[in-house]
Subunit: 248 residues, 2 copies
DNA sequence: GTGCCTTTGTGAAGCCATGCACAAAGTGAG
DNA sequence: CTCACTTTGTGCATGGCTTCACAAAGGCAC
């Protein structure tokens, strides 16, 4: 996950070589930083709603749940948008981060697989709130096709390619059973999509240049279980036993 | 996220100091490794279903979508469970990883907030399939309380503490609106819960020793949008313009 | 037993991310 | 203008993670 797949040939040999301008603002924002920008954006929107005009890195870091040095370094990758002694202008920073993330434009999203999860996603308001527009709901089940959900009519997956091309869909959400996910994935890629959000518990095989992000509830729970067990068993030393019945 | 919060006082000064036994199997599995173990487990279960008795690190890595050296290093943190020249015994490895993750026991999970998302989660089969049992559904809305979902009756959040303590709930899933999440979080922690999976788009404040993992659809989409924009705008060099109307 | 083949387990190197600590830069009072 | 104060932007050190590459280990044939 989080593959280095993108950025295959982005030059990264500046920064320590010549340093042409004071800020290192010439592309190549670290993945870790990109993953935190939405967090900052959310915190900034909260501040903006309360009318706060400027915010220090310390306060914003607190609101976003990160270290303030990390926040400043992250923002420095976008450019020098703060004022020393004052902080960051909330509105201006919202604009800059939004622009960097590509949220100043509208993204058409299609959801494939309108079951329990797909319906929840379709009804989700937080989707639309930030430049993402659900432009299509698709399912293979004739029982489901024709249902009206959140103002959209579910279409048959036969229409997948035409929906994608005709409505300019650039991001596809896969919420089908695991068995169907790779097939759907292949089709949407063939139709030109290069950004996929996958909820099915499978590793999707995709060509270079296609970004897949996955959300896997089961994995999150298992990670929690690991730490929970660790806490319960009272410290780092554990019984070393395992059944001898299991043979290698 | 992924806080270093847990493991506050775990000694990690071995490994490069004395090396008491050939394998470094004395606790302290890296977070990055823990996060991949469920992936390996899933791949192994697929192999087991097809009756495959053993698997090489190369093949398993392929199925899990990782580098084979990384896979071997990850597994070496659990112990020396492979056979050189042969590979890993599928059943045995499933058992070892399950044990390490704490999946040999049953975990009682409560879901708080039974709206669109909460219902989807409650109906999700992949939940139960791996040692997780939904032991309670709770909501604050009297309209929702009493509904029967996936064999469970939704209870009122007034019952939150008693449900947690009486049914031995150790993991809580928060699927309430963002505004209610911190309040719910505080209550479940007061009731003794130390593992939380949060779907609400807020940074939860929790004391040390409590693990929070979050799933945020909106963040994933924004990350995809970032890369999508990068692809579309034809390479690392971009127009440097921004509206002069916006003043700092 | 001997020798060949396969595959693991891990040292070592390189890369990336984190966080400290501070100089530079800006504000505002007097 | 000067000075004290605040806060940014970043050099640097540290540590963790990834990947390569290979010696060690086991299986198997004869
Ligand atoms: N529900 C959850 O909370 C949850 C959580 C984590 C992961 N998931 C995963 O998300 C996926 C969907 O979960 P769900 O609970 O909504 O399942 P679901 O069975 O309720 O819905 C799946 C939908 O996909 C449709 N479908 C099947 N094949 C298709 C195809 N080839 N093309 C298009 N549509 C197709 C089905 O008709 C159905 O409507 C599953 O892979 C599941 O493992 C679900
Ligand atoms: N639906 C999605 O696809 C989706 C995706 C990502 C994130 N989220 C987030 O997940 C959360 C739930 O989303 P949803 O679509 O299910 O919303 P929803 O409004 O459908 O459901 C929220 C439920 O929480 C209940 N609730 C409110 N206050 C409560 C309280 N104090 N205690 C217990 N229950 C309470 C409500 O009665 C309601 O049933 C939201 O924070 C949302 O932002 C949802």
């Amino acid at each position: 996950m989080r593959p280095g797949a993108h950025r295959p040939s982005v030059p990264l040999e500046h920064r320590h070589v010549i340093r042409r301008i004071p800020q290192a603002r010439e592309r190549g924002i670290p993945d870790a930083t990109v993953a935190r920008l939405p967090l900052y954006l959310r915190a900034l929107n909260g501040l903006a709603e309360r009318g706060t005009p400027t915010v220090s890195s310390e306060d914003l870091a607190l609101a976003a749940g990160v270290n303030s040095a990390k926040l400043r370094k992250d923002l420095s990758h976008l450019g020098s948008y703060g004022t020393r002694g004052v902080g960051y202008d909330v509105q201006y920073l919202i604009y800059q981060i939004s622009r960097e993330l590509g949220l100043t434009q509208d993204w058409a999203v299609a959801i494939v697989g309108v079951g329990n999860l797909g319906r929840a996603l379709a009804n989700y308001g937080g989707f639309v709130s930030r430049g993402f527009r659900v432009a299509g709901l698709l399912d293979a089940d004739p029982e489901v096709v024709g249902d009206r959900i959140a103002g959209l009519v579910v279409e048959h997956t036969d229409e997948l390619e035409s929906v994608i091309t005709e409505r300019g869909v650039s991001i596809v959400v896969i919420a089908t059973p695991a068995t169907a996910a790779q097939h759907v994935c292949d089709r949407v890629i063939a139709a030109g999509v290069t950004s996929i959000l996958n909820f099915a518990p499978v590793v999707l095989a995709v060509p270079d240049g296609v970004d897949v992000r996955k959300v896997d509830l089961s994995i999150e729970l298992q990670i929690l279980a690991f730490h929970e067990q660790r806490k319960a068993s009272g410290g780092p030393i554990m019984a070393e036993e395992w059944p001898d019945g299991v043979v290698m």
